[in-house]
């Protein structure tokens, strides 16, 4: 029952996202166009090239971050873990800034490729280094990610102190936005997200076992180290895809698992599913808000996420509906 609940909400959100905001086309005309009853080039342009890609991107980014956050918090047993922790966001930022500062690369596709490449490279480095000499304990993973993220941020800051024009562009990228996204860009990152979702689905059982502790999981025939590495790979793919599409909006990856845990408690499968749905829903709403709140301009989506998500997270924590991450919050 609880598991199906978000689906109609999500469909409603998608419809709202198609019908209102972003271009001066009212809901009536948009409905007519979607039902095939209206042949108007302007309406078609607004709905098909402005609103549709944003809706799709919000679903992919929000769902991806929600799933990534739930995976990461479960597997590291650390409620402070956010999706940027494995170096993904810092690596993406470094690649984007290096592209701007050293190669003068700019524009949507270049940033997409750079952010994705940087995210994957950084996270691979974190995983390889953490797994070096065979240790993949949650704490090693978390600290290796934090240490390398600091290094990447240092390098980013170094490049930006040298390049005034680069900083000028960087400060807008940091805010995150879905406004320049095209359907083609969404389709380009879709295989990555699907692959990660498949990995996550396969991990539900081993991760449930792992939440009882490494020894119990090993006794049940799972290999804790491999499960953690597989989860980290999925987190990397999801976060990399989302940072490439929308910039660093990592807060959603922290918020969605808290929302999901408040509803279903610690059951791994339901938690991952609900966190995905919840992430998608929150992102759709935030993006809708960013289009509507200061029309005809756009408010940055990170502001909307913070203004809506911050109080929600505070309320969840205050009402004690949280913190069931398995025995002994290690790390």
């Amino acid at each position: 029952m609880l598991a199906v609940l978000p689906v109609p909400l999500l469909i409603t959100g998608c419809l709202a996202s198609l019908l209102i905001g972003g271009g001066d086309v009212g809901p009536g005309a948009a409905v007519n166009h979607l039902l095939g009853g209206l042949d108007d080039a302007h309406v078609a342009m607004v709905v098909d090239t402005l609103r549709l890609p944003r809706t799709l991107a919000a679903l992919v980014v929000g769902g991806g971050l929600g799933l990534a956050g739930a995976l990461l918090q479960s597997v590291t047993r650390n409620p402070l873990a956010e999706t940027g922790l494995l170096g993904v966001n810092a690596g993406a930022a470094l690649a984007v800034v290096a592209g701007i500062a050293l190669l003068s690369l700019d524009g949507g596709t270049a940033q997409l490729v750079l952010a994705l490449g940087g995210a994957l490279a950084a996270s691979t480095l974190v995983l390889v280094i953490a797994a070096f000499k065979g240790g993949t304990s949650p704490l090693r993973l978390v600290l290796a990610g934090a240490a390398l993220s600091a290094t990447f941020r240092g390098a980013t800051a170094y490049l930006l102190t040298r390049d005034s024009a680069g900083y000028d562009r960087y400060r807008f990228w940091v805010l995150g936005s879905l406004s320049g996204v095209t359907t083609r860009m969404v389709v380009q990152v879709l295989p990555i997200v699907v692959l990660a979702a498949v990995i996550a689905a396969a991990l539900v059982r081993p991760m449930s076992a792992l939440s009882l502790g490494d020894d119990v999981a090993a006794g049940l025939g799972h290999r804790p180290g491999r499960v953690r590495v597989a989860a980290a790979v999925a987190v990397t793919l999801l976060t990399g895809a989302s940072v490439a599409l929308a910039g660093p909006v990592a807060f959603l990856g922290l918020l969605a698992p808290y929302l999901a845990r408040a509803v279903v408690g610690p059951r791994t499968g339901a938690l991952l599913w609900l966190s995905t749905m919840g992430g998608g829903l929150v992102m759709i709403l935030a993006d809708l808000g960013s289009r509507l709140i200061v029309r005809p301009y756009e408010a940055p989506v990170s502001i909307l996420l913070a203004v809506v998500g911050g109080p929600v997270l505070i309320w969840l924590v205050r009402s004690n509906r949280t913190m069931t991450l398995g025995p002994g919050t290690a790390a």
Binding site: N78, A146, A147, R171, S302
Partner: protein, 343 residues
């Protein structure tokens, strides 16, 4: 009874237990810190470099060299060391009270609150320059108080306050980013440059408040460290041993916020120092105790070394925050990986 890994120092009827390994480590770091200070003084622009500067530091007679060293370089080193020590100690307290290595003072809004304070002074100035030193600390402490008030209590192992702090930090941060994106680029760069962490032109006026704070708060932190040591065995065990967990967590958090807030006034947030110094200190001094003093010394050493390196290459200095995270990151990794598994 004396634990086997400690030395008992007796003076009349009083005695102090000194853990052997931690003492050796702390003394070694003090030596390294003195060497780093000498190196830091010896690096810079102008004629007074290398041995000439070290000579002046040790009592050489050249008045020009003496002035360069004692009026410009040494104050900066001391300011940096004081900020680093305060951050290392603050990080040690927050990590121990939450039993989480990711828990730094920044999680309760110290860094972002300080940034807002500085942002306000920059917006209020005609030349896009940063105002009085206390704007940052005021913002930091204000944000931390707000976080604790909104959280309405620390919660289990301090998590409620940390997650509320995270949520509020993200909100504050988003608004700061928005304001920076709307401002002229020189204003934005000025504030952003401050958030990286910089010791340029810092001296005794910046160092005094932190040193005063250290002098008051270190004695307050020492008893907290013994209680926090017991908290590591779980709240039930601690309660059975007569330690009230909630009270000591709040106490330690207040001390940590005070220290980190003051440190922010010197060189900016320098968040990575507060995270890395306690981890390095635990690895060096052993996990049996909470390494309060060693963490402070490690933080000071980290900041002084990063600042020295930042000035060592070329006339344009690299901000201390850049080097602290650029070099501290790999160093932390190396320390983590060279051991079997971390504590």
């Amino acid at each position: 009874m004396r634990p086997p890994d400690s030395l008992a120092l007796r003076l009349g009827s009083r005695s102090v237990l000194l853990p052997k390994r931690a003492t050796v480590v702390a003394l070694s770091i003090v030596v390294l810190l003195l060497l780093a200070t000498a190196a830091s003084v010896a690096v810079g622009n102008g004629r007074t470099v290398g041995w000439r500067a070290v000579e002046a530091l040790l009592g050489g007679q050249s008045p020009f060299a003496r002035r360069t060293v004692f009026d410009y370089r040494l104050p900066r080193v001391i300011a940096g060391a004081a900020a680093g020590a305060a951050l290392g100690l603050a990080g040690c307290l927050t990590q121990t009270l939450a039993r989480n290595r990711l828990a730094t003072p920044d999680l309760v809004g110290v860094g972002d609150g300080a940034t807002v304070g500085v942002l306000v002074t920059v917006l209020g100035s005609a030349t896009a320059s940063i105002g009085a030193w206390w704007a940052g600390p005021l913002g930091a402490v204000g944000a931390a108080v707000l976080v604790v008030a909104v959280a309405g209590g620390l919660g289990t192992a301090g998590y409620r306050v940390l997650v509320v702090g995270l949520a509020l930090s993200v909100t504050i941060d988003a608004f700061t980013d928005l304001v920076l994106a709307r401002q002229p680029v020189d204003v934005a760069r000025s504030v952003w440059g401050w958030t990286i962490g910089n010791l340029n032109a810092r001296g005794y006026p910046n160092a005094w408040p932190v040193m005063l704070g250290l002098a008051v708060l270190i004695p307050l932190a020492l008893p907290a460290s013994r209680k926090l040591n017991v908290l590591r065995f779980g709240d039930d065990t601690a309660a059975a041993l007569g330690v009230v967990p909630a009270r000591w967590r709040l106490y330690a958090l207040a001390v940590a916020v005070g220290l980190a807030g003051l440190a922010v006034g010197v060189g900016g947030p320098l968040a990575f120092v507060a995270m890395a110094a306690p981890i390095l200190a635990t690895r060096l001094a052993g996990a049996a105790r909470v390494p309060v003093v060693t963490a402070a010394l490690t933080g000071a050493l980290l900041v002084v070394c990063a600042d020295t390196l930042g000035r060592a290459f070329g006339p344009v200095e690299v901000p201390v925050g850049v080097l602290a995270s650029l070099l501290g990151g790999p160093f932390l990794l190396w320390v983590l990986l060279s051991g079997k598994d971390s504590s």
